[in-house]
Amino acid sequence: NFEQPIDNLALLRRQFPIFRWSPSNKIVYGIPKAIGNVSFMGASTSTIEEFNIVTSDKIMPQNTLLRTFPGPLTKNKTKKKDIVKWLDGIITDISATNAMVDLTIWKLLKLKLLEGSTLKDISMLLYDSNELQQFLAEPYQATQLVPNAFRMDAICQMKILAYLQTGNHDAALQLALERKDYSMALLIGSLVGKDKWSEVVQQYLSQEFSSGSNNDGIWTNLLSLIFQVYIGNSKAAIERYYKNKEEERWAITNWKRITSAVLININSEPTEQGKQNIHIPPIVFEFLVEFGIFLRQKGQELASSVLFMIANVPLSVEPVVHDTEVRFQYIGARSSPESMILSEIYEFGFSSEPKFNGFPILLPQKLRHAYCLHEQGLSSLASKYTDWLGYAIKSAPRNNISNMNLAHGLNALTTRISSSDTSWLGKP
């Protein structure tokens, strides 16, 4: 575009639409009647025949979430079953509007609030393994057992024992692998530590399962992952996905099925009565967090949020675990109304913990929630939030920048709400 700089002359030839928000929550706009340039070199005339002034809710799409959400959620006051009921309605609404929308997060939050939910429920939400039952039900023609693998002879076995009695793991392992005796190699690997164990598992799976199966990738990867997770080696297992493009793609594509398989393999403990939260064993927690970090770093914000939510990671400015920069601050894109509401429900799920007092990081998002309500013309709901926030700010440290900014923003909003209430266009 080597056009000579011709100042804003273009503006003189075009009437474009005018649209302006204003601080008063009112909008002025004017749309030209005719499209395209005004008459060629002729006298310019505006085709905006009329300006309209309306309140913003008149032209904004009604946001059902914002309008119906029973927030702000308050410990000891809001009832879980009310939120569950609300979630049910929203889930029905969304799927009626758009069958393609992924409702995983909404359904996960519902499960987390519902009494008696199990890890199996969460697993089934991510991947309905019932479809596998049919495959499993197919009769299997047991073939004659014909030796097709290897084990060590007696002398080798004695050598293994001797190596172990001298503490020489490496030599023992090497001998077992040389003789392709993977059972023995796995046992020795279990002695040496997580890293060695993982290495042997990986080697075994890739050697013994590389042929014959038509989707070997999933087969080997998923098995390997499950076995490594349950020996507490999630971090190393997931590190592979960072290094290998193919496995990275596989992990991103199949994150739900992977997570489902890990969750369903948690040995069910006897359910403790009155226990609110589903208990996640530390080994599985490690998997959820490490996989969540991986997905986040590959741009899968929502998937990573789901994993963090299953793991009950608190929303915070602190990194999820100490050796990463990844933080779980909001659910999804924080500026969206969905994010506000999901984060608030998630936060509420923690309120059964005795000392829980809310996530400080959510305060700005709640202020934004109030702005959005105000903008949608839902002033009384907005006031509920500003009242709630006013109370929260009072009990927060004063000389904290973020709280100072919060107080400033809250003050601006309350001023606006009260001035628009008394203005001639305000609601009665």
Partner: protein, 297 residues
């Protein structure tokens, strides 16, 4: 709904409501500014402000704490300040530091005082403070070669200062230019001027408008619209990290995008396009921007 018909006979470039939504100012290629008062479903034209020697591009109302004050900018290279007292409008100041068309004018967040930001085709932006004693102390910055089309203030936020000092305001604004660039500027206390903080490349033709989302406290959002028929959303996590670029949509718009305007909450972005449409946009849970309707006449 209030409908005001046939405000000007020539092209109309801007229409702005005041803080309370009681006054509307419009401006036009006919070199005039008109003031309407709206009350309920009625309105009346109360003044026609004449003083510019060319098309008037933009107008902006000052915060009511400074009085009923309007700023305007024009092809004639001037910024004029208008004031109403006892129902009578008069020009109270003229800010004439630019050597070419002044394309945008915006009052700063009221917390900073009566501070005006102007962007000009002479490649400069100026920030001028109207002090109580009537003096003007303009800061003039070389911003974009070829010309600056638009400039927009960031909302007022506090930032950490040196450990021993109390927090200070983080005064920033964004500019969009005929060099296809978007630039971020920040006030520096030591040098008493605005320094370039970041240069954002993304457009392939003139940047027509830039708008900094008024929403505070969460991450910063800037929308830039361009002659290249695209809108880019620029986001910054904290006040000091780098800016991330997101295209509003993958496909180009049918025509040039002229103006961008954020709702008060930052929740909705309105774009004025050369195809005569005003389209609304919102960010969804996945962080993608999706249409939120279209404004019909």
């Amino acid at each position: 709904m209030v409908a005001i018909a046939n405000a000007h006979n020539d092209l109309i470039h801007d229409a702005v409501l005041d803080y309370y939504g009681k006054r509307l100012a419009t401006c036009s290629s006919d070199k005039t500014i008109k003031i309407f008062e709206v009350e309920g479903e009625t309105h009346k034209e109360v003044a026609t402000l004449e003083g510019h020697d060319g098309p008037v591009w933009r107008v902006d109302w000052a915060h009511p704490k400074f009085g009923t004050i309007l700023a305007s900018c024009s092809y004639d290279g001037k910024v004029l300040i208008w004031k109403e007292e006892n129902g009578r409008w008069s020009q109270i100041a003229c800010h004439a530091v630019h050597s070419a068309s002044v394309n945008s004018v915006q009052w700063a967040p009221h917390e900073y005082g009566a501070l005006l930001l102007a962007a000009s085709s002479d490649g400069k932006v100026s920030v001028v403070e109207f002090k109580e004693n009537g003096t003007l102390t303009p800061i003039i910055i070389d911003a974009h070669n070829i010309g600056v089309n638009s400039a927009s203030w960031a909302p007022a936020t506090l930032q950490e200062n040196k450990p021993t000092k109390s927090p200070e305001e983080s005064r920033r604004f964004v500019t969009g230019g005929a060099d296809n660039l978007v630039k971020i500027w920040k006030y520096n206390n030591e040098s008493q001027t605005y320094l370039l903080e970041d240069t954002l490349q993304g457009h392939s033709d003139w940047v027509r408008d830039v708008a900094w989302s008024p929403s505070v406290l969460l991450r910063s959002y800037i929308a830039s619209v361009s002659q290249d028929k695209t809108c880019i959303i620029w986001t910054q996590e904290n006040n000091d990290s780098s800016w991330k670029k997101t295209e509003l949509q993958k496909e180009r718009f049918p025509d040039v995008l002229w103006r961008a305007s954020w709702s008060l909450s930052g929740n909705i972005l309105a774009l004025s396009g050369g195809d005569n449409k005003v389209t609304l946009w919102k960010e969804n849970l996945e962080g993608n921007w999706e249409p939120a309707g279209e404004v019909e006449q």
